[in-house]
């Protein structure tokens, strides 16, 4: 069985993939379907959903189109989620590989730094970082990556510790390869799969962290974010609950989709490994 077919035979993986596909479609089509500023005032304020078909999901407190905001918010969520996860994985993999392969003092120092980061809750770290540096998209990505790189680093290090004793690594040493070359060309690629398996969890967590930061008013105020939309809606929760519920549902489905698709990938690769 090919990997793809195995993936497609896992129902949760398919569900996750569909959700993600929809999300990507939303993010990519946002500028086509809703050109211009999604925060522009489009109609009367607090229009409930399904009343006016030019504004199908209604409007918020200033009369901005909720559907347009939802599509543009998908962009921010995905961009932050993917960028933060990529940054966390890259930092984590590099640090973990260096620590594991070099051993000794380098290992000690890098892992104690990782410890230091792990003792502070990731969200708190992100919160402190953004409030000091000031909210913008890049800062939010960096803040989230700062709190999440330790997980991949530890896993990469553990993998590298076992891989570096393998024969082909010894072989590479014998033919005179530079240790850094061995670490990043021979060891890291083989240590990567378990690290990548964490990516879905990290992406999901990054999307949630970004939403939480925006909810607390620490997102980029010039960009639509789902967390920001939920926070805006909170002030009118009793009179216009849809303003918080709509982006809330979008957030739940996105995180669910990322997670299910990630699980599906892990499962298919795990089965393949088990069989081989």
């Amino acid at each position: 069985m090919s990997r793809l077919r195995r993936f497609l035979h896992t129902p949760e993986a398919v569900a996750g993939a569909i959700l993600l596909a929809v999300l990507f479609a939303m993010a990519l089509s946002a500028s086509l379907l809703f050109p211009g500023d999604p925060q522009a005032i489009a109609g009367p304020a607090l229009l409930p959903p399904f009343q006016d078909w030019s504004l199908p999901l209604g409007t918020d407190r200033l009369g901005r189109d909720v559907l347009a905001e939802l599509f543009h918010g998908a962009r921010t969520s995905l961009a932050v989620g993917l960028a933060a996860a990529a940054a966390a994985l890259v930092i984590g993999a590099v640090v973990g590989t260096l620590a594991g392969f070099a051993g000794g003092l380098v290992d000690e120092v890098l892992m104690r730094i990782a410890d230091a980061f792990q003792t502070v809750p990731g969200f708190l770290l992100a919160l402190a970082f953004v409030s000091v540096v000031g909210p913008s998209l890049g800062v939010v990505v960096a803040a989230i990556a700062l709190g999440t790189w330790t997980g991949p680093a530890r896993i990469a290090r553990a993998e590298v510790l076992s891989i570096r004793e393998r024969d082909y690594v010894a072989g590479a040493r014998v033919i005179g390869m530079h240790p850094l070359e061995i670490a990043f060309r021979e060891v890291l690629p083989n240590a990567l799969p378990p690290v990548l398996a964490m990516s879905s969890v990290i992406v999901a967590a990054a999307i949630l962290t970004e939403a939480a930061l925006s909810f607390l008013g620490l997102g980029d105020p010039n960009r639509v974010t789902w967390g920001g939309m939920i926070a805006e809606g909170r002030t009118v929760l009793r009179t216009a609950p849809f303003l918080s519920i709509v982006p809330g549902i979008a957030l739940v489905l996105t995180v669910l989709g990322v997670y299910l698709a990630g699980e599906g990938i892990v499962e298919t690769t795990a089965v393949r490994r088990g069989l081989s």
Binding site: A40, I41, L62, G217, P221, N222, V236, L237, T239
Partner: protein, 536 residues
């Protein structure tokens, strides 16, 4: 100016302003006042220093005005908009060098000692003038307070001081505290700052941090048969949504200072047993203002400022941001001020085409991306409405080709960015009009104010003609001439736009039908509540 101490609440509510709208009939309830009962209400902040003589701010008054009284209180129908409290009459000398207050007889402090003119002299000279946030400006020329007898206090001024200003300052600035308690030790560290002792209808009971403040009835109060209530409990409910729920569950009987969000008022007004009251805050008017940094060369151009004024749809702001609970503004004095307001000022009706034309004339043509130039916009974080107006202003400016980038800060960072670092192009601020432009309105536009004074002109605006006008008004003693000068002040500000006044708003109370004598003066929420009662 290290003297400007700032707590978040002081900022939020700001010291009160004084005078009321035109003759508005006192709200009458048909029931006769009933004695006894405990009033439970929502409090959204817990001021550390409860001494209103030092911290003249609404957050402090809300609690301590029931304990510590002022010389006079604002009134809808009293002469000059005042009703007597600790003073029974007041008169200014024609030369502006003295003001005489006759004090109420038979008043006792909560610890049993008699109230005398010595207490007034002590409060004025030792606290209002040197320590109070607002008194520092108003009483800056106060040189002595003579006490010829126990019931007469004569304020002496080194320079002529308009009595109109002193009168207008009485309700917010003249809290009298006991000399015998404060003359020992450092005034700022006195334990009575946290457990005030006054002459008011209620005594300080206890304070449990994060839970409640309890005030109990002063059985020795000077007012006949007053107070009616036995107890007032301020239940600390920092979350705004919880106040509405607590009212509906009948856990509290009153939520003042817009503790219930505007968006919920429509729904809650239909709940049987609850009423929404918009009166009783006429003396506490907040102004929604676009602060401008004139150091930016684009903004130093009057045409650009006029264009921004034309780009703002004030009616939309009142209708959408404030849900109708506000009024559009024409200038630096709010419409509901009975003494100084004039409508005869240049106005800027909403007109996008005109705004675009003005910007073209100023030489800022649209670039390829449709933008003329970019600005940094800092909305003050104290109110939901200031933040929402920031969102609106960004859109309104986009419509005329100005790209405004929002920068959100917390309170402390906002104050530092705007008033100390001047790291803004436009800011949205909520100054308070305090009943007299000389108390804290002219400072918003006059030049020569040191960096770091919060809520003052930190936009680098300098207009010698306006500065001269402000200086002249501050030393004009004749009430009519002084009032005319402030009308001219409004015209010049509206013409030259050192800042743009957008709207004026105040607070809303939601109360149980059982609470009587609500909103019967223009500063009701921060008055003494001696006549407030709970019907059976």
């Amino acid at each position: 100016m290290s003297g400007f101490t700032i707590s978040r609440r002081t900022m939020l509510t700001g010291p009160a302003m004084l005078l009321a709208s035109t003759a508005m009939p006192t709200l009458g309830w048909a029931q006769t006042p009933k004695k006894g009962g405990r009033l439970v209400l929502a409090a959204d902040s817990e001021p550390r220093n409860l001494n209103p003589a030092i911290v003249a701010s609404n957050g402090v008054f809300f609690i301590s005005s029931k304990i510590v009284e002022t010389l006079a209180e604002a009134s809808f129908d009293g002469k000059d908009g005042l009703a007597p409290r600790l003073a029974v009459s007041w008169e200014g000398a024609a030369d502006g060098l003295s003001a005489t207050f006759k004090l109420r007889d038979g008043v006792k402090w909560h610890d049993g000692k008699p109230f005398t003119s010595a207490d007034v002299a002590f409060s004025a000279l030792q606290i209002w003038k040197p320590l109070q946030n607002l008194g520092r400006t108003v009483f800056k020329d106060l040189s002595a307070v003579d006490t010829p007898d126990d019931l007469t206090a004569v304020f002496k001024f080194a320079k002529p001081t308009p009595f109109q200003l002193i009168r207008n300052a009485l309700p917010a600035l003249s809290s009298v505290v006991p000399k015998h308690v404060y003359e020992v030790g450092k005034i700022e560290d006195n334990p009575a700052n946290n457990a005030p002792i006054g002459t008011g209808p209620f005594k300080f009971g206890e304070y449990k941090a994060g839970q409640y403040y309890r005030l109990t009835k002063n059985t020795d109060y000077w007012g006949k048969d007053e107070p009616y209530l036995d107890e007032i409990i301020y239940q600390v409910l920092p979350d705004r949504t919880s106040a509405a729920a607590a009212l509906e569950a009948e856990e509290i009987q009153l939520a003042a200072f817009s503790a219930v969000p505007l968006a919920d008022l429509d729904r809650i007004s239909k709940v049987p047993g609850l009423k929404v009251i918009t009166k009783g805050y006429e003396g506490l008017t907040y102004q929604l203002v676009v602060e401008i940094n004139h150091r930016r060369k684009e903004l130093a151009d009057l045409k650009v400022r006029q264009a921004i004024a034309h780009a703002i749809d004030k009616d939309f702001v009142v209708k959408t941001v404030f849900l109708g609970y506000a009024a559009t503004a024409t200038g630096p004095v709010p419409k509901n001020d009975p003494q100084f307001y004039t409508a005869d000022v240049p106005t800027y009706p909403f007109d996008v085409a005109k705004a675009n034309a003005l910007l073209d004339q100023a030489g800022y043509r649209r670039g390829a991306d449709g933008n003329r130039f970019s600005l940094k916009l800092l909305p003050a974080p104290y109110f939901n409405e200031t933040k929402q107006f920031g969102d609106y202003l960004r859109q309104a400016l986009a419509a005329v080709g100005i790209d405004a980038q929002l920068v959100n800060n917390d309170s402390a960072a906002h104050i530092k960015a705007v008033y100390t670092d001047h790291a803004f192009d436009l800011a949205v601020g909520p100054p308070v009009f305090r009943g007299d432009p000389a108390i804290w309105t002219t400072i918003l536009v006059q030049s020569g104010i040191p960096d770091g004074v919060p809520f003052s002109n930190q936009g680098g605006y300098k207009n010698p003609a306006l500065d001269a006008l402000i200086a002249k008004a501050s030393e004009t003693l004749d009430t009519a001439a002084r009032t005319d000068l402030y009308k001219e002040f409004q015209r010049q500000v509206a013409a030259d736009l050192p800042l743009i006044n957008v709207a004026e708003w105040s607070f809303i109370s939601v109360a149980s039908d059982k609470v009587g004598n609500i909103a019967n003066n223009p500063r009701w929420a921060v008055s003494n509540w001696a006549d407030t009662y709970l019907a059976g």
